[in-house]
């Protein structure tokens, strides 16, 4: 493995932040250490020569991106009942018309 592929713990901690995981210091040390060890083991994959090889994102069909699906007619269809979906929410407005979420505007990220 070349240096450019070496795994740095700060980069893993940043990945946890990007994934919206708010790890406590001790958990971050353990988890990022484990992931680093896993990636170091996986680094053997880098030895497989792939020059000129196209990546495969789905194995069935074209091997590239999935083919465009046959689209159905653009007609209105019944959706799931609104009340059933709102009923699964952690918090809704008193009359169950809207989801309630924490304030997103005017708050420091």
């Amino acid at each position: 493995m070349t240096d450019s592929h070496s795994v740095r713990i700060p980069d893993l901690r940043n990945a946890a932040h990007l994934a919206r995981l708010d790890l406590a210091e001790e958990e971050a040390v353990v988890l990022c250490g484990e992931v680093a060890r896993i990636l170091e083991h996986f680094a053997a994959l880098q030895a497989v020569p792939v020059a000129g090889v196209e990546p495969c994102y789905t194995a069935v069909g074209t091997r590239g991106l999935p083919p465009a699906p046959d689209l159905r007619e653009d007609e209105a269809q019944a959706s799931l009942p609104r009340a059933a979906l709102l009923g699964l929410a952690p918090q809704t407005q008193a009359d169950d018309e809207f989801y309630i979420v924490p304030k997103a505007i005017g708050v420091a990220p």
Binding site: L21, R37, I38, V48, Y57, G61, P109
Partner: protein, 495 residues
């Protein structure tokens, strides 16, 4: 109506049970009542279910008892992995994130089984979000293997496998992304089937790694897997990736005359112990005795399959699991501040277990700026090469035959602190998953292992679309080996 003794339903497969219900020889209500009672009584032993709904199942049984139309699974009790939606049942993916979440609709695969008369009795335990190979990463405790309760049943479809091996139900649904049905089948002495990717609709399956995920059945007979596949396969307007190609029609094979089976020497060499090697060689001999010609071939990239799979699957998982933010459904944790970002982070941090977090961090890193080319794109290119190896193999044989797992069921706790050693359990199932191929997991002879008798398994892998060929070959092999009637000691456990 002559009513058989209460427990005779225990040993029947789904095909026979449905036949007896349809003919009136057996009461649907009696079967479902007995099945629910047994499942409730044995739940403390194996922890197979996350949600049992006997009231719902019995109400449906009463309806079916007098129904004029009687389907191919009339009155057959089934269990469904808790990552598949069953309307009104808790489908928590064995995660604290989704505790109490009851599906507002039913997955297409489940709905099609229900339309043929199947009765869902509950949702089953599993590795959280289908991430695991032992069933131990469930937020609700591990599942125990009915063959040996100190051992893991395999994962991630751990509860579905335990429910069938424990004779709680004859048929269960799981999902197979990197081996999550084939591996528990091998460790629990069951028949399991991973279809061609896209063969069965994934509508209603909680996505883990979309380019690999398959809905997959577990049973105690190959004919039950064939029946379940026949019912579930087919296009679905709700899943654009679902194949419109019809299943190939084929009567059961009498033998394997005229077929060439390839045995990759890397798969054979992966077997870690003498008894497992002997069990697999017995399977190869059975193929030969049934008339197949055996050819040795090589799939050198097998050694990289686990790394390739885990890089691709975790990248997809990191993206798929971004939706669990505690806003519209699931658990919302108290945050240290009232901001949206803090709420999302707190919910995810408290909701996800250790293995899920590990894979999300791994996948996010492997796809992040500056690292994606070296990790994710490189793995996707290796996947192309894995597919090419299989393409070349099809020039030399009709199907591949190999062991399903490198070793029999591990002890609970044996590898739970070492993620890499758990990932190694998937060494022989992940190559097939990367290539999107169908594979039938069959039972090979029991082996003496660490002082006990444990099941082993083999897999028959065929080209894309040749799902039925894999099942037909596996059926002949089980008959030849005499393992089609394999019964776990749990079958004799009275509830």
């Amino acid at each position: 109506m002559t009513r058989p003794t209460p427990n005779t339903w225990l040993h029947l497969d789904a095909t026979q049970l449905a036949h007896e219900h349809r003919s009136g020889a057996r009461s649907v209500v009696d079967t479902i009542a007995a099945c629910c009672a047994r499942s409730q009584r044995l739940q403390p032993r194996w922890n197979a279910f996350l949600a049992l709904d006997c009231e719902r199942a019995l109400a449906r049984a009463h309806t079916l008892e007098h129904a004029a139309t009687r389907g191919r699974l009339h009155g057959v009790p089934i269990a469904v992995k808790a990552n598949l939606a069953v309307e009104g049942l808790e489908s928590s993916c064995a995660s604290r994130m989704l505790v109490g979440w009851r599906a507002p609709y039913t997955a297409t695969a489940v709905a099609r089984l229900e339309a043929e008369g199947a009765v869902v009795i509950g949702t089953t335990n599993m590795d959280e979000y289908a991430m695991g190979s032992s069933g131990e990463s469930s937020a609700f405790g591990p599942t125990h293997n009915p063959w040996d309760e100190a051992r893991a049943p395999g994962g991630s479809s751990s509860g579905s496998a335990a429910a069938v091996a424990g004779h709680l139900v004859p048929l269960a649904l799981g999902s197979d992304t990197g081996g999550s049905v084939r591996q528990p089948a091998a460790w629990c002495g069951l028949a399991g089937f991973k279809p061609t990717w896209g063969r069965i609709s994934r509508y209603g399956l909680v996505a883990y790694a979309s380019s690999l995920d398959c809905v997959a059945p577990l049973a105690r007979s190959m004919r039950d897997l064939d029946l379940a596949l026949d019912i579930m396969a087919g296009p679905d307007a709700r899943d654009a990736t679902c194949s419109p190609t019809a299943l190939h029609e084929s009567a059961p094979f009498k033998d394997l005359q005229g077929l060439v089976l390839g045995v990759p020497h890397e798969w054979r060499a992966a077997l870690s112990d003498g008894p497992s090697r002997a069990a697999f060689e017995a399977c190869v001999e059975a193929a030969r005795a049934a008339g197949a010609r055996i050819v040795e071939l090589s799939l050198p990239l097998t050694r990289h399959a686990v790394s390739c799979y885990y890089l691709l699957a975790t990248v997809e998982a990191a993206s798929n699991l971004a939706r669990f933010d505690g806003l519209r459904y699931g658990v919302r944790a108290a945050a240290h501040s009232s901001s949206l970002a803090a709420s999302i982070s707190s919910s995810r941090t408290q909701g996800f277990g250790a293995e899920v977090k590990r894979r999300i961090v791994l996948g996010t890193y492997a796809l992040s700026a500056g690292h994606a080319e070296a990790w994710h794109t490189h793995a996707a290119k290796v996947r192309t090469l894995v597919c090419r190896e299989f393409d070349e193999a099809w020039g030399a044989c009709d199907a591949l035959l190999g062991p399903t797992t490198p070793f029999p069921a591990i002890r609970l706790g044996e590898r739970s602190n070492d993620p890499l050693s758990l990932y190694a359990c998937d060494a022989l199932t992940t190559p097939v998953s990367l290539a999107g191929l169908p594979a039938a997991a069959l039972r090979t002879p029991l082996v003496e292992h660490e002082g006990g008798q444990l099941p082993t398994g083999a897999q028959v892998v065929t080209p894309h679309g040749a799902d039925r060929l894999a099942l037909r070959i596996a059926e002949v092999l089980e008959t030849q080996l005499g393992t089609q009637a394999l019964r776990s000691p749990a079958a004799e456990v009275q509830a």
